[in-house]
Structure formats: structure tokens, C-alpha cells
């Protein structure tokens, strides 16, 4: 390893170490260990299952079982790996822009960033365990020299997946580098989603079959998943005992990985060299002061919060995600609930949508000030009650969450079998409104005590610290359990009235609790400003 690479490796290691030794770092470390304690057994469990799959695929030595096994293993791992990486990983370890001044080749820095992307991601342990499971399963089934090629395929597959994720991220950064392009992309995404929904609705009662009929024409899409496609091709030949046939696939896999890596690097370099002091740039726009919202300082707070929320890439993604997920719920889950399960049970998908609308926005109620940056100082400098700031944040977030829920409910109504009874809608609205104050009251405490300067990105990991994420899981579980009590009782007696009454009482208690909590939380925020502001404003790494 050359001197500069050693320095880069040391830098990465020290940054990681500082994360745990900085203020609150021990708690972060504990949270990471807890996550690993969950991730490792899950990974091992999947590894054993996949290992058995690989064992059977090798034992069958060709034929449908072997082919399907190889495809399932690689496409399955690739799909989850890519999805999780794109959602969680914001690759903030080595920023190419910071290294342009140093006499280090940018290509080396980038390659190292990619390589450490595998080991630097705790979730990568799960993928590593799965790939090890494939190797062990295959080795037990048929020991031999062919395993060396399989090892190369598995390593190349891992690298190819990391490179593809990086390429997607760089392309998105390049395409969505200006506000206007982001808005157009968002409009296009909404348009495509709506077109899919319309197509599914138009296909009547057999939307799944209509989609299945279209599959042969969509096969070409498998090449978009080239790490899995090439690896599966190689594995099919290897499992069948035709090692020589696997070589073109291995060469193809390595070649496409190198090409994608090079392309990804060039885009990253162009972006790094193109970004100036003015941020993302953009043409001068005429003065648009606007007339503002009514309601004095309160109206100004609401307007600020609403504008901020709707300019959040994460919130816009949620706006797309909620209806798309509900399409699957309406088409796949709802029809499987038998009529005899009772009215309350049949309304569960709708209730789930009410809770999911809050869950999607948890980064905002767990880190309410995370995107303010220097603006957070304005709250402390202006003659505004901090309680009003917390109330405005809660009001705007609740409005957005309600919109997400109503959108989801509309999708379920459009695609689901039969119309749910009116009481179910009323109960879902009460559930949505009733859980909000509980979540927001607890979330305010996390926002004040565990703030994090978040980036305006679609990756959720950049919005919350590991510990806040864990606490959020605890809060959601506790509130869900609390509201499940009336649901259990109502299911037992099959009485919607019990459900409505129970949730109304809990909701009212939550609203009173939030009203009581906000002035105290505002005082806590004022008292903690010395620790709070440097973190939120980004003066100090969170």
C-alpha cells in the first residue's frame, strides 16, 4: 500500500473511531452493536437457507431446478442489496470534492471509497454471510477446483453490486443536480406511477394476470440487473458442472463492472469539479417575495415549515412510495383476508395505511430540526416562542401525513375488492389522528436530545442517527401496541364501536399529553441550545 493510500485508510478509520468517541458516540456505538446483534443472526439464517438452496441446485446438476435456483439466489440477493443500499447508504465516507486539492489520484480515492463501501456498511455483513452460504452449500454438494471460479463469481458479484449502486447514485446526482431537474424528475415519476395505477385499474379484476402476460416482453429488463444476470449465467453453468461455459459470463461480469466503475467515477469527478462555491447554481430568478400566509408569526412559521417539507426529496419520495405500496396491499393482501374474519380484521389494511403514513415520515418527527442548518439560529434569535415552533412543525407534518394517508386510502378504494364500510374509514382517520400526538410528543424529545444535521437526500440513514432510529422503532412499537389493545378487544367482540371509542379516548389523551408537553419541551430546547445549535447548524459533526 502506498503512503497516500495508507493515509486515506487511516483517515477513514479515524473518522469511524471519532463517530464513537465524540459526544454521544458511546450511545451510537451501543445502538450499532444492537443493530449488528439483530443483523448477524438474520444474515446467518438467510445464509443457511441460501446455502441449502445452492446445495440442491448443485446436486441437481443442471435442469430446471438448478437454473431456477441459480437465478433465484443471485437476483434475490441483488434485489435486496441494491434496494437497501439505495435507501440507507448515503456514501458520505470519502467525498471526492475534498480530495481534489491533494496530490492523490482521484481514481484511487474513488476506488477506495467503493471498496470500503462493502466493509464500511454494517448491513453488508448480511450479504457477505449469504454469499458465503452459497459457497459453502455448493462446496458441500460437489467439492472441486470449480469452486475457485465460483469464489471469483461471488466476489465479482459483490463488487458489481456496489459499483451499480454507486453508478445509480452518481447518475441521480448528475440528473437531479438542479432544482428544476429534480422537479421534472419528480413530475415524471408521479406520471409513471399514475400511469401504472391507471393501467392496473383498467385491466379490471385480473391486474396480476395482465402484469404476468406482459412479463415475456419485460425480460429485457433483466439486463438492468446485470450483476445478478451475469452471475446467475455463470452459476448456472458452474452448478451444472460446465465450468468452461461459465468463463464468458465471468469475463462479462468483470468487464461490465470495470466499465460501470469507470463511468461512475467519471460522473463523480465531473460533478466534483463542476460544483462551485454557489452550491448547485441555477439561473438568476426574478424577485419572488410573495404575499405570505395569514396569521402573523404563526402563519410565517407554518409557511416556512410547509415550504421546507415540500422541498424535501425524502418527503417527495414518500409521496410516491405510499400509493405504490398500497397498490400491492390492495392487490395482494386485501383479497386474501377471508370474509368470515370479521369486519374489524378486514379493515386492517386500511388501519395499516393510517400507521404507515406516520412511519414513512418518522425521520421528520424524530429529527424535526435536522434540516434547518444555520436557520435554526433564527428560531433562537427571533422573538418567537419555541413552543410555537414545535406546534407549527407538528401541524404541518400532521397535514402532510394525513394527505399521504388519504392518498393511500384512495388507492386501496380504487384497486381493492369492495368498499370498506364507512365506520372503517372513520376509525382509520381516528387512528391516524390519535397516534399522531403520541408519536410527535415522543419524537420532539428525540429531536431535542438527539439532533442530527441531516442532508437533503433521499437516503434515510442521513436523516437519523443509529440511536434515534432504534428509539424510533421503540416509539412506533409502543404506540402500535397501545392502540392494538382496543383493536384486540373489538376483534374479540366484533364491535366497531368499541374500536372507535377506544381509539378516540387514546387519541384525546395523546392530544392533551402533547399540549402539556410542548411548553416543557420548548423550555428544554432553550436550555439545551448550547449543545443543540452546533449540531443542528452543522458546526459540529453529529
Amino acid at each position: 500500500m502506498t503512503g497516500e493510500l495508507r493515509a486515506l485508510a487511516e483517515l477513514r478509520g479515524r473518522l469511524l473511531w471519532r463517530r464513537f468517541t465524540a459526544r454521544g458516540g458511546i450511545a451510537e456505538g451501543v445502538a450499532t452493536v444492537v443493530l449488528l446483534l439483530i443483523a448477524v443472526p438474520v444474515g446467518l439464517g438467510f445464509a443457511v437457507a441460501i446455502g441449502m438452496g445452492a446445495y440442491q441446485a448443485v446436486k441437481s446438476a443442471g435442469g430446471l431446478r438448478s437454473d431456477v435456483g441459480a437465478s433465484a439466489i443471485f437476483f434475490g440477493i441483488w434485489q435486496t442489496w441494491t434496494a437497501v443500499s439505495l435507501t440507507l447508504n448515503d456514501r458520505d465516507g470519502l467525498d471526492l470534492r475534498r480530495f481534489l486539492l491533494f496530490p492523490v489520484r482521484p481514481g484511487r480515492v474513488y476506488a477506495m471509497g467503493l471498496a470500503t463501501g462493502i466493509v464500511g456498511d454494517p448491513v453488508a455483513l448480511v450479504w457477505g454471510a449469504m454469499l458465503a452460504g452459497v459457497f459453502v452449500g455448493a462446496a458441500v454438494a460437489r467439492p472441486g477446483a470449480w469452486l475457485a471460479i465460483l469464489a471469483v463469481v461471488l466476489l465479482a458479484f459483490a463488487m458489481a453490486t456496489v459499483v451499480l449502486v454507486a453508478l445509480v447514485q452518481e447518475v441521480l446526482s448528475a440528473v437531479l443536480s438542479t432544482r428544476r431537474s429534480r422537479e421534472w424528475a419528480m413530475i415524471a415519476s408521479v406520471g409513471v406511477s399514475m400511469a401504472i395505477l391507471a393501467l392496473l385499474a383498467w385491466s379490471g379484476e385480473r391486474p396480476v394476470r395482465a402484469a404476468a402476460d406482459a412479463l415475456p416482453y419485460l425480460r429485457i429488463l433483466q439486463w438492468a440487473a446485470w450483476p445478478a444476470a451475469f452471475s446467475a449465467g455463470a452459476a448456472r453453468a458452474l452448478f451444472a458442472g460446465r465450468s468452461a461455459e461459465s468463463l464468458p459470463w465471468v469475463v462479462g461480469l468483470c468487464g461490465t463492472t470495470l466499465a460501470a466503475g469507470w463511468l461512475s467515477f467519471r460522473i463523480a469527478l465531473a460533478l466534483a469539479q463542476g460544483s462551485g462555491a454557489t452550491g448547485e447554481g441555477g439561473a438568476a430568478a426574478p424577485s419572488r417575495v410573495g404575499s405570505g400566509w395569514r396569521g402573523g408569526a404563526w402563519g410565517a412559521l407554518l409557511e416556512k415549515e410547509a415550504r421546507y417539507l415540500f422541498r424535501q426529496p425524502l418527503a417527495r419520495v414518500d409521496l410516491l412510495l405510499a400509493p405504490v405500496i398500497m397498490v400491492f396491499v390492495a392487490l395482494q393482501l386485501e383479497p386474501r383476508i377471508p370474509v368470515e374474519a370479521g369486519e374489524v380484521v378486514r379493515a386492517l389494511p386500511l388501519f395499516g395505511a393510517a400507521l404507515y403514513a406516520h412511519l414513512l415520515l418518522q425521520a421528520f418527527w424524530l429529527n424535526g430540526f435536522g434540516w434547518e442548518r444555520g436557520g435554526a439560529r433564527a428560531f433562537f434569535l427571533s422573538p418567537v416562542d419555541l413552543g410555537a415552533v414545535l406546534r407549527a412543525k407538528a401541524a404541518v407534518l400532521y397535514g402532510f401525513s394525513l394527505f399521504l394517508f388519504l392518498l393511500s386510502a384512495a388507492v386501496m378504494l380504487l384497486l381493492g375488492k369492495g368498499t370498506p364500510p364507512r365506520w372503517a374509514f372513520a376509525a382509520a382517520v381516528v387512528l391516524h389522528a390519535g397516534t399522531a400526538p403520541w408519536l410527535y410528543a415522543a419524537g420532539n424529545m428525540v429531536s431535542i436530545l438527539r439532533p442530527k444535521a441531516a442532508s437533503f437526500a433521499i437516503q434515510r440513514s442521513s436523516a437519523l442517527s443509529t440511536l434515534s432510529g432504534l428509539i424510533g422503532m421503540g416509539i412506533v412499537s409502543a404506540v402500535t401496541m397501545l392502540f392494538a389493545l382496543p383493536a384486540l378487544l373489538a376483534t374479540r367482540v366484533d364491535s366497531p364501536t368499541v374500536l372507535l371509542a377506544g381509539w378516540s379516548v387514546l387519541g384525546l389523551a395523546g392530544a392533551l399529553g402533547l399540549r402539556f408537553a410542548i411548553p416543557r419541551q420548548a423550555r428544554l430546547l432553550a436550555e439545551r441550545r448550547d449543545e443543540f445549535l452546533p449540531v443542528v447548524c452543522g458546526d459540529e459533526a453529529a
Binding site: 405570505g292 402573523g296 434569535l381
Partner: protein, 270 residues
Amino acid sequence: MGGESHQMYESPPAPLAIETRGLTRLFDGKPAVAGIDLRVPAGAFYGFLGPNGAGKSTTMKMLTGLLRPSSGASRVLGVDLARDGLSVKGRIGVVPDGLALFERLSGGEMLRIQGQLYGLDRKVAAGRAEELLAAMELSAEGGKLVQDYSHGMKKKLALACALIHGPELLFLDEPFEGIDAVAVSGIRRMLQDLVVRRSLTIFLTSHVLEVVERLVTHVGIIHHGQLIAQGSLAEVRATGSLEETFIRLVSEERPVGPGLSWLGSRADAE
């Protein structure tokens, strides 16, 4: 010298815009500001000077409510900050270190919303926002998100935000840092006009002593968290320039050793 300046202020009891007694801030037990007694007369253009890390920004943060003092008391515009900070906030304007801008609002939105947060009617706030954008030569950029502004543009916008509600006292932390010479000249004229014609009090920190000397009427110098000089510009600088006085007061005797001999000998490094 600090002690002398206290005596100077005792004879003519001028109204004070800022008055602190033993204002102290400790970080990890170490004093960043060590019991300073500031006295800023109303209507003064007060330059608060000091080398890097002397405690200027920490003092300003304590005076504007961004940081809690470890001990001591401060009165701003005659009001005890610890007792009624909220009423003071409506009467002061602040351009803090690191600025206080919501970067995902447009410049125009930021200004108007800031005005509304300070209690202005939305139409009044919108009108003043337009005027301030024009005064700062930012009208063409008013619809652009603040995050797209250059550093100098952000500084000008932050100054406009601090002025929109017509404050009686303006706190400016390094207002000329990162701004081009033309903009510095424009802002300097505007600040002088605010003090002379509108009787505004300005409390300013800056490293640019030449600019400060041309602007301020009063000076305070802080070093290692202690106020080592305070008074009118003429009193503090005595016979020399402000820069000479400043360097004399804050520089520490440091022998020029044989270190750094490798500088300029690239061949040795290779």
C-alpha cells in the same frame, strides 16, 4: 486599560445600549470569556476586536441569546437578558457567525418570513423585503433558493434579514468576511447612514481593522477572553493607528527560531 476605561464612563452617565457585568462563559471548565464588563453607549458604532479565538463570537452569542453565560449579567437596551430575553429579541437585529438563514427558502421568502417572525404584517414585510433586496442588489436573485447564493450574497441577505424589522441595535459578526470590495463599500455606507441618521447602535466584530477604523466610534478589544481595552476610538488608539494599537495590545513576544528551514527547499522533500 480596561480598568481605566471603566472610570472614563463613570463621569458622564450616558445611556447604555449594552452593559455586562462579569460576563463569563466556560467551555469544559476553561474560560472562553472571562468576566468582561462591556459598556456600549446608545447610538455608538462599537467595534469589538480581538485575535482568532479571543472570545468575540462567544460574547456576541451570549448577548443575543444563542449561548447561555456561565455567570455574570447582561442588559441589552436596558432589559435584563436572563429575565426578559424575548422582548429584547424583537428590538435587535443579528448577523451571527455562520449566519441564520433557512437555505431551502428563496431569498425573498426568507426575508418576508423573517419580517413576519418579528411581528410585521405580511404585506409590510413583503414591501420591506422588496426594498431590502433592491438595496442589497439582490433583486434579480430574490426567487433563487438561498442555498444557491454565493457566500457574499448570503452575507448581504443575512444583513437584510437583520434589518427588516427596523431594530434599535444591530449585532454583526464579521460582516465583511467573504464580501467583495464593492459590496463592502456599499454596506459600509449603509451602516454609517444607519448610525448617523437613524440613531441605530451597532456592535460589530471584524478582523478588517482598516475598515473598522473608518467606521466605528467606540472600540473594545478582547484577548484570551478578557477585555483589555475599551473606550472611544480616540481614547483607545491614543497616538497611533488602531492597527498599531491592536497589535501592541494582543501580540505576544515570540522568538523567531530556526524552524521551518525546509520551506522553499522542494528538492529536500523529494
